[in-house]
Subunit: 201 residues, 2 copies
DNA sequence: TTTATTTTGACACTGACTATCAAAAGCTTG
DNA sequence: CAAGCTTTTGATAGTCAGTGTCAAAATAAA
């Protein structure tokens, strides 16, 4: 979801200003990436567009790639995964979460999401950096599944399922070159159904 | 496998010299990484140790990360995957290949492999860069499976299986923190068996 | 040996990222 | 509101990865 959907408990002016600065940097960065391409856009340009100093940019985002990759999807998805009805199998629960996520997205969210995905799979640096996210997500899924099933998060069976889920998700998400990206929800759902059925050929 | 195991059709002197230079760079790089750590080692140092200029380094390896990631495992593994007995299911075939690979490794290969893995999962930049390799590998697996089953490499079911295989492999390979890494072969085999059985919990 | 091609090193450059430090802005008391 | 404290910011000056260019050296071919 875009920055707009964060509750952002409006405490002091400082917090609000920080949130605004962060959002401004991200928006201008994504706009510039869209207009000129990722490589052609320097951090200096982003900083200038967002009216901050380059130093400040790096204070908000550790790397240029992080401007693209940082969103708060995972957190919401993981909570949702933990809260799925207990009778669902791990894969079914994950599938339900995915469907839920797509259903709850506003057109704006969808557009922002598409842009992020586009960059993630187009720009090598970003795509590479996404690996860390996937590793982290695997851990989180394993943890959520462990909580659901009352097993240890380190359990190899659990980690295995988490790995398979991520792998299938990646495979279903990546090769959307050219296709109408609206199908993403459908395609992911079909892929997960396939996994649930034991990957028959 | 280490650089030593490549057949390296010894054509002209040029080819041989190139191969030697490449090997020298990689060896010195890995040694320096081991001794001083990845970050503390600059390309300039590697170049100096290998007795070439920094320019030459980049002529052989597009990035510093590639020094770690480039090996010729995949090629061999993919050929092997295509050549597995036709009666094996895709997962069983992949499993057989994995077992074969581990069995065929010399202690030297194993040591080199361990070092590569170590760096891959330790150094964020390298780990991130590994994403590209996995994406490429997914494609290759999909292609090999397509060849085996006579289906289209773009077939979503095929890509799905490839994704699940990669995901499970990653999950089984990654969290080897602390464990005796000799178990890697066993652990991967168990994970694949688990996938083959439909990921029961 | 002479000629063509490839490989190499020196140099200069861009751009991401870090460290430091002083100035400014926001918060908190009296 | 004024004085003092903390956080945020910007300027500056670096390091290092990676690119482009070009002439010199090494190798292959004639």
């Amino acid at each position: 979801m875009g920055e707009g959907s964060a509750p952002a408990k409006t405490c002091g002016l400082r917090e609000r200003k920080k949130a605004r600065t962060r959002a401004a940097i991200r928006e201008h960065a994504l706009r510039l990436f869209r207009e000129q391409g990722y490589h052609a856009t320097t951090v200096e340009q982003i900083a200038e567009a967002a009216e901050v100093s380059p130093s400040t940019f790096f204070r908000y985002f550790p790397t240029k790639e992080d401007v693209v990759l940082q969103d708060d999807f995972d957190v919401i998805a993981m909570d949702s995964l933990r809260d799925q009805p207990a009778h669902l199998s791990p894969i079914a629960a994950y599938r339900a979460v995915a469907a839920e996520m797509f259903a709850s997205m506003t057109p704006d969210d969808m557009a922002s999401f598409r842009e992020t995905m586009e960059l993630t799979f187009t720009v090598p640096e970003v795509r590479a950096r996404a690996m860390d996210e996937f590793a982290r997500t695997t851990d989180q899924i394993a943890e959520a599944l462990a909580a659901r099933t009352g097993r240890d998060p380190g359990d190899s069976a659990i980690r295995n399922v988490a790995g398979a889920l991520i792998g299938v998700t990646m495979a279903a998400t990546m090769p959307w070159t050219g296709d109408p990206p609206e199908d993403l929800a459908e395609r992911l759902d079909a892929a997960l159904a396939h996994l649930e059925a034991g990957l028959p050929l």
